[in-house]
């Protein structure tokens, strides 16, 4: 007979003394953190060597709630911080965990350049299609036609297709799942942790307080139902074909899984070739 346990398996990964967290009821960010903790267990990474870096925003608070070496940086600059951290300390597994506004709007330049360089980090982007923390403004992910505080008559800007942006910039691992697909999310995280190079996971997530409410899309549960009914898993789909429309079908899955030398590898190779034994690296591979 199995014994009942009162310990939540995710609890050791959380700074429980910081609870309650700031996320709204029905928000999907906490769900992704749960997946993250489970992925850490499954991947058997040495936890003391895992560092989490966030930017600013609702998802930007993730680093602060996770009981690992964690850095809550400035708006949009989690990726440059992570780049410096990883290059200085190649033994670390560096995970950037932030939102769509932080990573793709204000931090968009760093996103494409880190993917281009193939910095050996994992970037987890919780995409709720809006700026949640600051009141629901239009983001570069807001679907055309969606209402936001700064688009009261409907958004008329074409949004970024994040997997396509990541792949065309050079990411070696690209996947998209939703907060409904918790097992897939956790599995994707395990794969991303094991991947050498710039791995990217987009996780669609409800923002019932702002995005769903302003667009009359119901609450968090309604959004989960929508994700369940309208997500189509197409592993290997071409990322150019995975645009997201307002309440249309969503293509999800693992889209990219390729090999390419990392920034550390190309740097070491180039500098060793040029400087010979004068080159002193900082270890890692």
């Amino acid at each position: 007979m199995s014994t009942l346990t009162t310990i939540n398996p995710v609890e050791p990964f959380l700074r429980t003394d910081r609870m309650p967290h700031i996320w709204c009821p029905g928000c999907g960010i906490g769900t992704t953190v749960n997946c993250f903790a489970r992925a850490l267990v499954e991947s058997k990474l040495p936890l003391d060597k895992v560092a989490v870096v966030s930017g600013i925003g609702c998802t930007g608070r993730v680093a602060g709630y996770i009981h690992l070496d964690s850095f809550h940086t400035t708006h949009g600059r989690a990726i440059p911080f992570a780049t410096g951290l990883k290059l200085a300390n190649p033994d670390l597994h560096v995970v950037v965990y932030s939102g769509d506004g932080d990573l793709i709007a204000i931090g968009g330049n760093h996103f494409i350049h880190a993917a281009r360089r193939n910095v050996d980090i994992t970037v987890i982007c919780v995409n709720n299609f809006t700026y949640g923390m600051t009141g629901g403004q239009v983001a570069p992910t807001t679907p055309v036609g969606a209402t936001a505080t700064t688009s009261p008559y409907g958004c008329f800007e074409r949004p970024f297709n994040l997997p396509f942006l990541a792949e065309s910039s050079g990411a070696v691992y690209v996947a998209r799942w939703t907060a409904y697909h918790v097992r897939h999310v956790a599995h994707a995280m395990v794969e991303a942790f094991q991947k050498k190079g710039f791995s990217f996971i987009e996780i669609l997530s409800p923002c019932p307080t702002l995005y769903q409410r302003r667009n009359k899309l119901g609450d968090g549960l309604d959004t989960m139902r929508y994700y369940k009914q309208h997500s189509i898993i197409k592993n290997g789909a071409h990322t150019r074909d995975v645009d997201i429309d307002l309440q249309g079908d969503i293509t999800i899955g693992k889209f990219v899984d390729i090999e390419r030398p990392t920034l550390q590898q190309t740097m070491d190779q180039q500098l060793r070739q040029t400087l010979k034994d004068r080159y002193v690296g900082r270890g890692g591979a």
């Binding site: 560092a51 400035t74 600059r77 200085a88």
Partner: protein, 324 residues
């Protein structure tokens, strides 16, 4: 890195990763770095920023000198903080002060600025590099406490907390939000007072130890030239010309410009007739001199918009005015 926002943040990541890191810029790039000077101050991240000053504002005069970022160095990032800034006037000092800058940054856990100007930045002169073993390095303040007893932002007796090595089990949280000794965000005025007064105090209370200046010909001086960076070398020439005319002129050169050598200026103010501040801007450090001189000595500014250094003759002319 792709831009100055990225480079100024990458060095902070590198510092937490265990490296010593700095970044270099000029003009608009310095403006872009301001947010991360504030983040480094708030998170007490040792690092060095080098600004090779050009004429401004905006794109201004690339490759031509200026000294108009001195107040930006002091106040450029939003919010309250103190900063350490050094001002070399020769290639030798660029080397020597860079070491001092890193040592200050480690000792006080603060960003340190090396405020050069284009002339010093492009200058070619002999530089003596001492043997590595003769260079004093202030080691990073790593904690010796076990993780269970360690609080990442608990100040030591000198007001400065110890760092933990990332990747060794301390699992510290670092944030740019106002935080408590755990490093946890604390959104209240008590936490704000406690943290920011400590950040300001750790520099301000040690200002006399950090301040550094050079004096030339001040023993009998009635007029004190105050100049820094390349301008101090032109001022020294003007001082010699004035001395040849029998004018009692000396030169005070702040080497550490922030914190400003308040006490030394006050001491001279009670003994001399006037200060002549020579700088490649339309008045920045002159306000510091004026503040310290109070009403004890006159303060004159010989400003200049940048693009080229002062002529010694114009400084001489201002000295003559100051004598009257």
């Amino acid at each position: 890195m792709e831009d100055e926002l990225a480079s100024s943040m990458a060095i902070l990541g590198a510092t937490w990763g265990g490296a010593k890191a700095f970044t270099v810029t000029s003009g608009p790039g310095f403006s872009l770095m301001m947010e991360h000077i504030g983040y480094a101050a708030m998170t007490e991240t040792p690092c060095v920023f080098v600004d090779v000053q050009r004429g401004g504002p905006s794109t201004g005069l690339p490759t031509l000198p200026g000294q108009a970022d001195m107040m930006q160095a002091r106040w450029g990032s939003h919010g309250d903080y103190e900063i350490i800034a050094l001002c070399p006037n020769s290639p030798q000092e660029c080397f020597d002060l860079m070491i001092d800058a890193f040592n200050f940054s480690e000792e006080y856990r603060t960003p340190v600025l090396l405020m050069m100007d284009e002339c010093v930045g492009h200058m070619t002169e002999k530089v003596i590099i001492p043997p590595a073993e003769d260079i004093k390095i202030y080691p990073r303040r790593y904690t010796s406490l076990p993780p269970s007893e360690y609080l990442p932002f608990r100040p030591g007796p000198d007001g400065i907390p110890e760092m933990a090595k990332v990747g060794t089990g301390y699992r510290a949280e670092v944030t740019g939000l106002t935080h408590d000794e755990h490093g946890y965000p604390a959104m209240n005025w008590q936490a704000q007072h406690k943290l920011v007064s400590r950040l300001v105090g750790k520099i301000r209370n040690n200002a006399d130890r950090i301040a550094r200046w050079e004096e030339h010909g001040l023993e009998d001086a009635e007029i004190v030239l105050v100049a820094y960076g390349i301008t101090s070398r032109v001022a020294e020439r003007a001082m010699q010309m004035a001395r040849a005319e029998g004018l009692k002129v000396g030169l005070l050169r702040p080497v550490v410009v922030w914190p400003f050598p308040d006490q030394r200026i006050r001491e001279w103010a009670s003994r001399v007739g006037a200060f002549v501040v020579v700088e490649m801007n339309y008045g920045q450090m002159v306000y510091e001199v004026e503040r310290c001189a109070a009403s004890q000595a006159r303060t004159l500014l010989l400003g200049h918009g940048g693009g080229m250094v002062h002529e010694p003759q114009e400084i001489l002319k201002t000295i003559r005015e100051a004598v009257q």
